[in-house]
């Protein structure tokens, strides 16, 4: 399975035929992976391809259901991340675990048992310099920008002297210049003999820095341990995304479009956990169903919040045609619903202050009940109105949110990852409702990581990459390969080789 260089020494870390199944669904199926000392090995794949599962097994978070993990040729069974660290395998996650009010030095030494002053302090300073970091050791972390925070996380790992460093989508949160700095760091680490595993979905980065690559698709290896030079961008995209099939069967008729209900002009919005928005122009007309595609972390969350009117842009303009905006948020239970309330109350969250339900000194319970029953029937919510909303599963919760939001009769609907985690019937249901709304003349903006879904429902797809609009593709030009390539940041010339 492994092509390319013949190993002269055992791999620093490797997975041999590992399989991991969650809830009946295989996240990794018979995966082979080898990373050697002194190389940068990228793991490529779409959302849900199984990259994180693989690295979680290498890092001791999960145990493989079958197959084995080896470190330097010896089979190892990790019981916890701490075991993995002791064996020399560590991870830098996308989500940082830094204590804001402690200094860089203190964060680096936390949990290591080393005293935060004197010789140990100098040791930390040395490590930081060797890695090429210019960190103010006595500054509290909360003052640091995101690139420096990542450096602190890396420093934490370096102080435990690992042989293998795994980076999970490290560039997601970084700006252009910071990416360059990070890669310089990775290069230095590689020259020191570390094995670097880099999870990414961005083809450009692979070209910049990878010695070898492994591609996962739907849990299986489609390419293992190959050199990047062996593939064109198109070839890589196909390995990640599947063979192109051109435009899929239509599931809706194009509707007559009205005036613009949403316009974003030059919108910038910075983000803690992704690229944010870096100058986005977008317009949605009444009756139009526009999709926003892209891999997580390229500005999806921010565009949803700006479009829904929840977050003002840092720069640029947002124009709504007036009236309410219906927003189906990504975080159903945390944002779109009130956990302690009943289903009926949640259904009324948009209208409980106005008649007929809301009168100044009383809530008309009968009116609320009849509204709730009506919506429960119409949207297939599988429980009674007086039950606490947390009893519902993902599908049920989303039906409540959709029911409430669509009932508002707003002119614009913003839906962020509306079918994520839903059972098939509920997902179909939600899609159908959004399509119906567009056919009724509502402007709909759907942000989704599911490219197939977007290709089926939308009139237009806008691809977000690193906070900018990579392309605005009309339905007539829908092509899975093409869109996939755009999402991965390859050059958007369709005939690139």
């Amino acid at each position: 399975m492994v092509a390319g260089k013949a190993p002269s020494a055992p791999a620093a870390v490797e997975a041999l035929g590992v399989t991991k199944v969650f809830n009946g669904r295989p996240a990794n199926l018979d995966v082979y992976f080898h990373a050697f000392a002194g190389e940068i090995h990228t793991v490529l794949g779409e959302n849900g391809a199984g990259k994180s599962t693989l690295t979680s097994m290498l890092a001791g978070v999960y145990r493989p259901d079958s197959g084995e993990v080896r470190v330097r040729g010896r089979k190892i069974a990790f019981h916890s991340p701490r075991d993995a660290l002791r064996a020399g395998v560590g991870v830098v996650y996308q989500e940082f675990h830094l204590v804001e009010n402690l200094t860089v030095l203190e964060n680096a030494l936390l949990g290591t048992g080393m005293r935060p002053w004197g010789r140990k302090r100098d040791a930390v300073g040395d490590q930081a310099r060797q890695a090429g970091f210019d960190l103010p050791l006595s500054a509290p972390v909360r003052l640091l920008n995101i690139g420096h925070r990542q450096q602190v996380e890396i420093l934490k790992l370096l102080l435990r002297d690992p042989d293998v460093l795994i980076f999970d989508e490290p560039t997601a949160v970084l700006g252009e210049a910071q990416v360059g700095e990070l890669f310089a760091t990775l290069d230095r680490l590689r020259r020191r003999g570390k094995a670097i595993v880099l999870i990414t979905h961005r083809l450009r980065e692979v070209r910049m820095v990878a010695d070898r690559l492994t591609v996962l698709r739907e849990g299986r290896t489609t390419a293992a341990g190959r050199r990047p030079a062996e593939f064109t961008d198109a070839a890589l995209t196909e390995l990640m995304v599947g063979p192109g099939t051109g435009a899929p069967a239509r599931t809706r008729e194009p509707a007559a479009m009205g005036e613009i209900v949403l316009r974003l002009v030059g919108v910038h919005l910075s983000s803690r956990s992704g690229s944010g928005l870096r100058g986005v122009d977008l317009a949605v007309a009444a009756g139009e169903l526009v999709g926003v595609a892209g891999v997580r972390g390229n500005g999806q969350r921010e565009i949803a919040e700006v479009a829904a009117g929840l977050a003002p842009p840092g720069r640029g303009r947002v124009e709504h045609a007036g009236g309410d905006v219906s927003f189906i948020p990504e975080d159903r239970l945390g944002m779109g619903l009130c956990r302690r309330m009943t289903i009926g109350q949640n259904l009324a969250l948009r209208c409980y202050r106005k008649p007929p339900i809301g009168r100044p000194w009383q809530i008309d319970r009968a009116a609320l009940q009849s509204l709730a029953e009506r919506q429960i029937a119409r949207y297939g919510i599988p429980a009674r109105a007086d039950r606490i909303v947390t009893q519902l599963s993902g599908g049920g919760l989303q039906r409540v949110v959709v029911a409430r939001e669509l009932d508002q009769r707003a002119r614009l609907i913003v839906a962020a990852q509306p079918t994520r985690g839903l059972d098939i019937r509920s997902a179909e249901f939600v899609r159908r409702r959004l399509v119906e709304a567009a056919e009724r003349g509502v402007g709909v903006l759907v942000i989704s990581e599911d490219l197939d879904e977007l290709m089926a429902m939308t009139d237009r797809i806008v691809v977000l990459y690193e906070g900018c609009v990579a392309a605005d593709v009309p339905r007539s030009d829908f092509d899975r390969q093409y869109l996939g390539t755009l999402m991965l940041g390859a050059r958007n010339d369709r005939h690139a080789s």
Binding site: R82, V99, E100, N101, L110, M114, R115
Partner: protein
Amino acid sequence: MNGFWVQTLHQAVIAGTPLALAGLGELLAETVGVLNLGVEGMMLIGAVTAYATALVTGNLWIALTAGALAGSLFGLLHAFLTVTLRVNQIAIGLTLVFLGAGLSGYAGQSIAGAPVAQSFETVAIPGFGALPVVGPILFRQDWVVYGAGLLGVAVWVFLRFTATGLNLRATGEDPAAADAAGVPVVAIRYLATIAGGALAGVAGGYFSLAVAHAWADQITGGQGWIALSLVIASNWKPLRLICFSLLFGIVDSLYFSLQALGTDFPSSILAMVPYVFTLVVLAIGIAWRKELGVGPAMLGRPYDREERI
């Protein structure tokens, strides 16, 4: 400086010592994020235990140890309820005040009014003790006073310069991150709370034996609450805490001395001073030096590993 002031200031140091001890204990607890409002109750239970033990054994050091034990039992109870069962810290703290007040009042009935013959031996520090003015005030005190001062320095060193101290601070600021880094958050919260209780117990014992020289119901009369305010006024810095305890000890001492002199200074205004002072100091600290007067970020909140649903 005439004798009146020297005597008053000498007393002030003694009066400030229980505040310093209880304050340091509370500082440790709050550093790990536990807001222990039960200090007053722990001081009372420590006071009655120590006083009774002194009457029985005649040994003041055994008495203080007994007070520490009583206080730490309360601390253990607080920790169990708030850290393990995750009950609201404010409710538990207040309840422990009631429990401590009730238990101590009840248990102390039989010993109320009985005098303890022994008193803490004054030890002069060689050299320093002979200095004019400062000598008798600071350097001719008993070992508990010196202990409080040394403890303040020790806590400062501990928190700032040791790995375990770092663990404590991280636990109070961000228990999730500390947990991820391998810090035993639960154990630390337990130990710090128990230590806080123990120190409050010692503080109460010293108060009844060396400051008030008596036991009576509710004898500490709010010292526990003052200690709480001291922790905040000092912005959770142990060295500042020691200084402020001295200051408040002066206020206390002045009150008694003025009474003895027969002046008519309204005592209620004097009683307000610690609290107004704290608020003013905090306001100055925030406005002038940009210090955030909020303490450890997770103060008062329970830590639940599975919290995120």
